[in-house]
Symmetry: C2
Subunit: 336 residues, 2 copies
């Protein structure tokens, strides 16, 4: 491998002079600079970031830890985050936690060892506390995307859960629904908690009543909703929900599937709307009404805040950025 020593020898200067040229130090004569630059080009020298990092204590590496890169919502966050990282000269490491705190823990250990400059994380839930404490203890800056953890002070970029929930409920209320169910994520995850509260508030706002039996808590990656749907359908017709709000795209799509399997027609018998668009490339004839969170911006802004933290240009107090969603009304909530 070509090192600054090879360059130095060939250019007849000291390695330190080469280092100065590479780092654009002003204390270099024009003549020397040109000479060294010529040799660098000639020998096709590339600085070794590892060696540099050992001294400078920075790696220009940022880790993104998300539940699942295959979910279009997180995919788009990743895309936004990566764009910002590249702009600022950082490279992005990817980690899927699969909503499992122990897998997340494995990543945290890995990235602590890799000495990343910072971490952008959508934590698996409140159980992530110990993982985040580990980061904090080692003074690795981190920023939350999509979700936060109670008791940990850090910047957050997320969708506006309150306003988004309100929009979904208002839309359904407008369509005449009076009994609306919520199929939510686990209460151990901040956005599920927020969505639940926002849902209850939104019902009041729309002049509707809340029914405890229509408030379901499940997982964001639950893949069968047959039991839940069956329970709904077992209710007396007057007690059945006529509309369902699903707390993410995965729940939304799989609820639709369960309804279809049980021959419940959507939206005629039950309307369905959800958070996050399941389709990154909108299909010909999309069916599901969604409140699309601005995932790209969440990733981009989150990364921006993180880089500001890393580079010390962020304000001392932590920032919470809530971005508005876009309600996209489709067939699953509008009767023909």
């Amino acid at each position: 491998m070509v090192t600054i020593y090879d360059i130095a020898k060939k250019a007849n200067v000291s390695p330190m002079t080469v280092s100065r040229v590479i780092n654009h130090s002003p204390a270099i004569s024009e003549a020397t600079r040109l000479k060294v630059e010529a040799v660098i080009r000639e020998m096709d020298y590339i600085p070794n970031k590892q060696a540099r990092g050992l001294v400078s204590k920075e790696t220009k590496l940022i880790s993104l830890v998300i539940p699942d890169i295959a979910n279009p919502f997180f995919t788009t966050i990743a895309r936004g985050a990566e764009d910002k990282a590249l702009q600022s000269g950082y490279q992005m490491l990817l980690g899927n936690s699969d909503e499992q705190t122990d897998k997340e823990c494995r990543y945290v250990d890995l990235l602590l060892s890799s000495k990343v400059d910072g971490v952008l994380i959508a934590p698996t839930g409140d159980a992530s506390l110990s993982n985040l404490r580990k980061l904090a203890k080692r003074r690795v800056p981190f920023v939350f995307v999509d979700r936060y953890v109670e008791g940990i002070d850090a910047d957050l970029a997320s969708g506006d859960n309150v306003e988004t929930t309100r929009e979904l409920v208002a839309h359904l209320a407008e369509q005449g629904h009076r009994r609306i169910a919520l199929i939510n994520g686990p209460s151990g995850i901040s956005n599920a908690r927020e969505r639940r509260q926002a849902f209850l508030d939104a019902l009041v706002l729309s002049g509707l009543e809340a029914y405890p039996e229509l408030l379901i808590e499940t997982h964001f990656r639950q893949d069968s909703f047959s039991d839940i749907v069956r329970t709904f359908m077992a209710l007396a017709p007057s007690a059945r929900p006529t509309a369902i709000v699903a707390a993410n795209n995965f729940i939304g799509v799989n609820t639709l599937r369960a309804l279809k399997e049980m021959n419940v027609t959507v939206p005629d018998e039950i309307a369905v709307a959800c958070f996050d668009d399941p389709e990154p490339i909108p299909d010909y004839n999309p069916f599901l009404t969604v409140a699309a969170q601005p995932a790209y911006d969440i990733g981009y802004m989150g990364m921006q805040m993180l880089i500001e933290r890393i580079e010390g240009t962020a304000p001392a107090r932590s920032r919470k950025i809530m971005l508005p969603s876009t309600l996209i009304v489709r067939k699953s909530t509008v009767k023909a």
Copy 2:
């Protein structure tokens, strides 16, 4: 930061002994090992990969360079690749080339500086040659996913373009179509070239004729197909295609959209089928007939071959893995 020197001092041994314990060297007495391990735990020591890598010449970093992480096909490749990487103790860096050779070049420079152990790449096309040469020159192992570059010898994991194309054409022929169009990617990308040839061969196999005016070359991320569709519709009715094969999900979806805008009914007037499912979470009522390539396996197998190359356990000759697709027939090709 806690280093092996801190551990050594506290445990009353030399730093080298600590290093041996960390690396599970057998030449350590049980007593010393336990003593050192206790101090390591007590002081919460984490090895510094940068320092280690400076000596060992490995970073346990692999870079994945793909056109776009937001495209579900590549997303799923990333997911498979990441799973395999983690299993084998590697971390994955992500880079989006956006189908631009110069952006790809920027990444290659970055990862050369980061001293990654290997690169998994879906090259932007034949123009990637110089970028790949750079990698080869520096002896950074790389493996192709989805696409290869003529003149570069490396392992490849991809879908079986020939067989997949044949299936799509056979399906359309079975539906009675005699004039089938192909809207393809750029001929500078290997899989577009392969799909074109496979398409022509498949037509022959199905006893159909090829019409040059129905062979369109465009971009994999082209977003408007109005002109192409308009040209088709301007043909005399007997010369118009009755079916279109789109070379990827993006082309497929946007062709559908263009057809819709021009009030061409699908599949009645024109049927449409494409490579790669645009929907990572199949929607309630998916419309588009697709040949779904096994993206997860492409990523997983590609990463596996790469790790074998890195660790020197791969055979000298390069391997080409072609994985079969699954034809999913939906409404866009089947008249009601």
